[in-house]
């Protein structure tokens, strides 16, 4: 079985090398690809020097377009499983094999690594958690399903979801919206408890200023995703 880790990467000079090292050590069965989205710092040079396999997007697409590039790559190169994985050191590769087992055993279309099942490890900032709570409720209303960590960037999908996402995937803030989309299509989305860390350097792409826009945009996107059915 061919398995691919997709690492979206924007200005992660301090953490990208360790992220890849973590995968090589704790998930050696996986291939990986870093999708460098025109980082404005020297992330690309650092990747080159370290011999890290990198897709180089010639213009900045944002997280959605970058991850989707990874899915297109995965489909073309015959991967059976793809997992999105933060380049900032927040995720741990040691969970990846468990996620594959869960995906296969449960016949799921997506497995989300959730911080909020066992409530262990880094629990995200207070304000962020309020936003996540709002998404929990909205998903429950829209789909009847309970997803504890809809914004988690640690998400594994099977081949058929990969093919679907390679054709259509939200451009920005894709996580909660695409979960609603999958659930509306009666796909099976399950969660697995994981512990996450705090960012290892760099800054989050979702600043305080952007978070209001983020909440509104994602809420509307989720409603529309449900309407599309």
């Amino acid at each position: 079985m061919k398995k691919l880790v997709i690492i979206p990467c924007y200005n992660e000079r301090e953490s990208i090398v360790n992220t890849v090292k973590d995968i090589k050590e704790h998930a050696p069965e996986f291939d990986y690809i870093v999708v460098n989205d025109c980082s404005t710092d020297d992330t690309l040079e650092i990747c080159k020097k370290a011999g890290i396999h990198t897709l180089k997007l010639p213009v900045n697409l944002g997280i959605g377009g970058a991850v989707q590039a990874g899915y297109v790559y995965g489909v073309r190169h015959g991967y059976d499983v793809a997992v999105q994985f933060d380049g900032d050191g927040q995720h741990s590769a040691k969970y990846l094999e468990d996620m594959v087992s869960a995906l296969e055993k449960e016949g799921a279309d997506m497995v989300i690594g959730s911080r909020f099942i066992n409530k262990e490890g880094f629990q995200s900032s207070g304000l962020r958690r309020i936003g996540i709570k709002h998404f929990n409720v909205l998903i429950k209303i829209l789909t009847g399903k309970r997803i504890t960590d809809p914004t988690s960037g640690m998400r594994m999908i099977n081949r058929s979801t990969m093919e679907f996402f390679s054709k259509e995937y939200p451009k920005d803030y894709p996580e909660p919206e695409s979960v609603v989309r999958l659930l509306s299509l009666k796909k099976k989305v399950i969660e697995l408890p994981v512990q996450m860390n705090e960012r290892q350097g760099g800054v989050s792409s979702i600043s305080a200023m952007k978070s209001v826009y983020y909440m509104i945009k994602v809420t509307v996107a989720m409603l529309i995703a449900r309407l599309r059915g």
């Binding site: 180089k56 010639p58 213009v59 590039a69 297109v72 790559y73």
Partner: protein
């Protein structure tokens, strides 16, 4: 009245010349310029026969003909700007696709070179 009509006609004609010039120089796409050209011709007709405006306003129950022009202009502008939004969305989808293809193509050729 006649003076104003001539001024308006002159403005419209200059605008038309600019648009045609830009199309010739490939600065703008005829596909998107067509709406503007149509608009100029409508403007010229209304300018030449102001009676049409009065009659139309009467028909719609609008008391002052100029209000009808404002209303028509605002609706038209909204439609045009909206269609631009649709066009930009389509373009950004295409750019996204091309960008992804290019990145993957570059990677595939690079990896092949490495194997040789």
């Amino acid at each position: 009245m006649l003076k104003l009509q001539i001024v308006i006609a002159a403005i419209l004609l200059i605008w038309l010349i600019v648009i045609v010039g830009n199309i010739k120089k490939k600065k703008i796409d005829l596909r998107y310029a067509l709406a503007w050209i149509a608009l100029i011709f409508v403007g010229l007709i209304l300018d030449a026969f102001p009676g049409i405006l009065g009659a139309l306003a009467d028909l719609l129950g609008i008391e002052i003909p100029s209000n009808m022009i404002f209303m028509a202009a605002i609706i038209l502008l909204l439609v045009m700007v909206y269609s631009l939004t649709a066009t930009v969305s389509r373009l950004s989808d295409r750019v996204k696709k091309l960008t992804q293809e290019l990145a993957i193509l570059r990677d595939d050729t690079f990896e092949q070179d490495k194997e040789k």
